[in-house]
Symmetry: C2
Subunit: 286 residues, 2 copies
C-alpha cells in the first residue's frame, strides 16, 4: 500500500470543493489529477496550480489513481459510483465530498470489496461556487466527517483520516444516518430558511421597490446560504428528504410558537423564550 | 437656531447604538452628554471618550440640550417621550433610534409643537450589545431612515439629515407605516427565522450531543441575529405586530412550498424555484 505522499490522487469535479481540495493536496501526494467535463475548469485548475494535469474522460483520469475523490453534486456522485467500479484498480481508496451520506454509503457497499470506499463530508463551503472561487485554505481547521461502510477496515479509515489531516481539516467519524440527521438541522435547514426569507423579501421588493434601499447586514447574513449552488443543494435536499422534512416541520412549529406569543402580546413569555434562544445559541457556538 | 457644531447633544441610553452614535458625534457638535441609569455605562462612555460627561438623571442630562436622541428599546422610547416633554426647551430637536416607527411618531405628535420631533431608524447593528461593543464607525455608509411627523418642517428635517450625515450615514426619508412594513420583512423576519433555527438546533443538540461538533459557518451566519439584545427585539416585535405577523405568515408559506416540492421529489420544480430564489437574492443585494 502506497503512502499518501506516494499516491496519485484523482479529483472528479473541479468546482469550489474539488478545486479547493486538489489545491490543498498539492505537496502532500505524488500527483493531483483533475477530472471535469468542462475544459475551462481544467485549464483554470492547471493555470492556478491546483492540479498537475487534467482529463475530461473519467476512465482516463482515474487510471492508475491510488485515491479517487468524488466532488460533484450528490446525485452525480451516486451515478459515478455505479459507473466507475470497473475502472478502478484493486486497493484504490474511493472517497466523496457529498453532503448527504446514507444513499452514497449504500451505493458504495455494492462496489467490489477490492475498492476501499469511504463516505466523506467536509463541513465548509462558500456562498460562491465554481473553480474560480476555489481556495486551498478552505478546509483549514474545519470538521471533515467520515462515514465508514460496514466493510471498511481500520486501515482504510486511517488512510481517509490521513488525507483529511493533510488538507488541514479535523476528521470526525460518524454513522451515515446520524450524519444525515445532524446536517439536516445544522446545514440543510438553514439553507431552506435562507431561501424562504429571500422569497418573502422578493415579494416585498415587488410590492415596494424601496425595499432594496433598507437591506442591511441582518438580511444579508440570514439569507447568505440562498446564494449556494442550486444543483448541489437540490441533490442534498432530495437525497435527505427523510431528515430534512422533519427538521423543516420543527422550524415551522417554532416560528408559529413565536408568532402566537407576538399575536397574544405576551410580553413576559416572549421575553423568556427569546432569552432562552439567545442563550442556546451562545451555548451551541462556544 | 444653533448649528450642529454649536449644539449640545444629549444621548439617552448608552448601549451599542447610543454609545456608537455619541462617539460618532464627538467633534461634530459642541458637547455630547450621555444619560443612562447605569453608572458603569456612563463611566465606560467617558473613559472611552464617547461622551463629554454623563448623568443618571434624565431631567439633569437633557437640561439645555439642543438635540436629544433617544437610544433605548422602543417601549422605553415611548415612555420617555411622555415623560420628557416638559423637560425640553423650545426648539429642541428630538430624535430616536427605535426600529419601529408608527407608535413612536404617534407619541411624538402629542408633544408640544415647540419640540421639533423626528423619528429615526439607523439600519445598522451588531450581534453584541452594550456600550462595550460601541463603535463610532458603526454608522459609516449605512442607511439611516428618518420619519417626519405630520407637523415636521423642512428645517427640522434638514437638521435631522445634517446629524445623520455627520455620523457618516445616508438619510432616507420614509413615512412611518412604510418603514415598519419594509423593516418587518428585511430585519424583524430575519430575526425570527434565526430564532426558529436556533430553537430547532437546541432540540437537536439535546437529542444528540454531537450536533455541536458539526456546527459550521452556515448555521453561524443564519442564526446570527438570534444573539441580538432580547429586550430590544421583544419591543420591536410587539410594537410592529401588524407588519411582523403577515411577514412571518408569508415565510411559513414559502417554507411549506419548498417542503412540498421536496416531499413530492419534484426535481424540476425544485431546481427552478431554488434558481429563482438565488437570482432574487443576487438582484436584491446588487
Amino acid at each position: 500500500m502506497k503512502t499518501l505522499a506516494e499516491s496519485r490522487v484523482a479529483v472528479v469535479g473541479l468546482g469550489l470543493m474539488g478545486g479547493s481540495l486538489a489545491g490543498a493536496l498539492r505537496g502532500h501526494c505524488a500527483e493531483v489529477v483533475g477530472i471535469d467535463p468542462d475544459r475551462a475548469a481544467i485549464a483554470a485548475g492547471t493555470a492556478r496550480g491546483l492540479i498537475n494535469w487534467g482529463a475530461v474522460d473519467l476512465a482516463m483520469g482515474v487510471q492508475e489513481a491510488d485515491v479517487v475523490i468524488l466532488a460533484t453534486p450528490v446525485r452525480t456522485i451516486l451515478k459515478l459510483i455505479w459507473e466507475m467500479g470497473p475502472m478502478l484498480c484493486p486497493g484504490t481508496l474511493l472517497l466523496d465530498l457529498g453532503s448527504t451520506k446514507q444513499q452514497i454509503v449504500e451505493a458504495m457497499e455494492a462496489l467490489p470489496p477490492v475498492i476501499h470506499a469511504l463516505g466523506g463530508h467536509p463541513m465548509c463551503g462558500k456562498e460562491s461556487s465554481g473553480i474560480g472561487a476555489a481556495d486551498p485554505e478552505l478546509y483549514q481547521g474545519k470538521r471533515f466527517i467520515l462515514c465508514p461502510l460496514s466493510r471498511t477496515t481500520e486501515e482504510t479509515l486511517a488512510r481517509g483520516e490521513e488525507l483529511v489531516r493533510a488538507v488541514g481539516a479535523i476528521p470526525l467519524v460518524l454513522e451515515a444516518q446520524r450524519q444525515d440527521r445532524l446536517t439536516a438541522t445544522i446545514s440543510h435547514l438553514p439553507y431552506l430558511l435562507a431561501c424562504g426569507l429571500t422569497a418573502v423579501a422578493a415579494e416585498g421588493q415587488a410590492a415596494d421597490p424601496l425595499l432594496r434601499e433598507v437591506v442591511a447586514s441582518g438580511f444579508r447574513d440570514t439569507s447568505r446560504l440562498a446564494g449556494s449552488d442550486v444543483t448541489m443543494m437540490r441533490d442534498i435536499l432530495l437525497t435527505n428528504r427523510a431528515e430534512v422534512l422533519p427538521a423543516l416541520a420543527r422550524a415551522v412549529d417554532q416560528l408559529q410558537t413565536l408568532g402566537a406569543l407576538i399575536e397574544q402580546d405576551d410580553e413576559g413569555a416572549l421575553q423568556k423564550l427569546l432569552a432562552e434562544i439567545r442563550e442556546q445559541r451562545r451555548s451551541l457556538l462556544e
